[in-house]
């Protein structure tokens, strides 16, 4: 079988892979910021809720998260009167990954928030800034900068976990590779998976490059 056929067949799954990867990553960052916010509240109940979610999300394998999201979430939605039968599988994949990694993201952001110098808050309040401006202007940008290396690592974990969406029947690159290998009774399995590995590797390099650009543009320390 020629290389071109393999590449073409695998790349047919690239849009799904990238779509799920990028959107679930962004969503998970938002969840992470929310979890950070809740875990920094003064009252015990909020902190408890954040801790519970973080524990569950970090303790559940991504594969299980995807299965729960695809098979159980629609039932839950049905229960509150929402019919999710016709929703795209991509949606459930994105949800499963985002919620599954949200706990890690929350921890990354919380640790970064706690390592922002206390004097940065004091100086900002001392010039008469309001809390919302202090956070938006001074604190969160520093949180992002501090968290960035960890966020980059998380992104690579996302990339790998995104190859698991085949379990709910999405035609991503991984599923296409498996199908192609099966069609040929496994004869070309090794070649196909080497090509798959190379494509993932190129994606990694591409996104690492984007991160590097971003970091270079946003470093002030």
């Amino acid at each position: 079988m020629n290389l071109f056929v393999i590449i073409k067949s695998l790349l047919a799954g690239l849009p799904n892979t990238v779509l799920i990867l990028v959107i679930s990553f962004l969503l998970s960052s938002i969840i992470g910021l929310l979890v950070m916010w809740i875990s920094l509240q003064d009252d015990r109940v909020s902190r408890g809720v954040a801790r519970l979610y973080t524990g569950l999300s970090r303790g559940t394998p991504p594969l299980l998260m995807l299965l729960l999201s695809y098979y159980e979430l629609p039932k839950l939605l049905q229960f509150v009167g929402i019919n999710a039968q016709d929703w795209s599988k991509n949606l459930f994949a994105i949800f499963g990954l985002a919620v599954g990694f949200g706990g890690y993201m929350g921890e990354v952001f919380r640790a970064a928030f706690e390592s922002v110098d206390q004097s940065q808050f004091e100086a900002a309040y001392a010039v008469g800034m309001q809390r919302k401006d202090v956070l938006k202007e001074i604190i969160l940008p520093q949180v992002f900068q501090i968290a960035l290396p960890n966020i980059q690592n998380m992104f690579l974990d996302f990339l790998k976990a995104s190859s698991l969406v085949y379990v709910i029947g999405i035609s991503d690159m991984y599923r296409n590779a498996t199908n192609l290998a099966n069609v040929h009774q496994g004869v070309f399995q090794l070649q196909i998976f080497i090509v798959l590995g190379l494509i993932y590797w190129l994606i990694t390099i591409f996104f690492e490059y984007l991160f590097k650009l971003y970091i270079k543009k946003n470093t002030y320390i």
Binding site: A123, Q130, E137, P141
Partner: protein, 248 residues
């Protein structure tokens, strides 16, 4: 009428009383130096004035604004903070902002000045401390002396009624202390009201017209620099001054 009056200010941290009923009254144009041993509550007192620390009780009067420390509302906090500025021991410049932005930030978000006007003002302040060419530098790219002078520019740009200084020179290399002291001296001669916590007795003598000696959460003495620094009556102050002069 006094510009600032603090009465019976009390503050404790986890059952440890750090300020035991401090009173202070200062007039417009006063430069008050606060000296005293480490741990006596000088920083806590300074941060109580602009409510970076929340005192347990006492009252504060700044011009016509009056507040009770035991029940301060967020709006009152903001109002007081917007009339006072502060310069920190470790400079505390905003790390993610350039030198220029460090100055404009407080104008834009703390004083509702437009961005253009804030930039103009910041440029003027930077020029005044001779750092206009550093306007696009981040704090990490500046020396301690440069950072502190921007810290001072950040405070003066706000046209505050009072500037609080917490040991503004003690983190600086000895050869950089002079320029920062000169900047503060210039402010004093322009009539800026200031409260300066310092260990530099020569500096207190040079810029202050009133000196407070703090000990163990109390004001032990309050008077002119001559009274407190040159002819101290209190044994504790004599001891403190001679111990300090041995260090230098």
């Amino acid at each position: 009428m006094a510009l600032l009056q603090v009465d019976n200010l009390k503050k404790s941290f986890n059952n440890k009383t750090v300020l035991k009923g401090v009173n202070l009254q200062i007039d417009k144009g006063d430069v008050v130096a606060i000296i005293g041993p480490s741990g006596s509550g000088k920083t806590t007192f300074l941060k109580s004035i602009n409510l970076l620390e929340q005192p347990d009780s006492g009252t504060l009067k700044l011009n016509d604004d009056q507040l009770d420390f035991s029940k301060v509302t967020p709006a009152e906090k903001l109002k007081i903070r917007r009339k006072i500025a502060m310069v920190f021991q470790n400079y505390a410049l905003f790390k993610n902002k350039t030198a220029l932005e460090n100055i404009t930030e407080g104008l834009i978000y703390g004083r509702n000045v437009s961005k253009d006007q804030a930039t103009q003002r910041a440029n003027k302040e930077l020029a005044a401390v001779g750092l206009l060419d550093k306007q696009d530098f981040y704090p990490a790219q500046l020396s301690g002396g440069q950072q502190q002078r921007i810290g001072i520019a950040r405070a003066t740009a706000l046209d505050p009624e009072i500037i609080l200084f917490d040991e503004p020179t003690s983190a600086l290399d000895p050869e950089l202390v002079g320029t920062v002291v000169d900047d503060i001296d210039k402010l004093a001669r322009n009539g800026q009201t200031m409260i300066v916590v310092t260990h530099l007795i020569s500096f207190a003598r040079r810029v202050a017209n009133k000196v407070i000696f703090f000990e163990d959460g109390n004001v032990l003495a309050f008077g002119s620099p001559e009274d407190i620094l040159d002819h101290p009556k209190n044994e504790r102050i004599k001891q403190f001054l001679s111990a300090i002069s041995k260090d230098h």
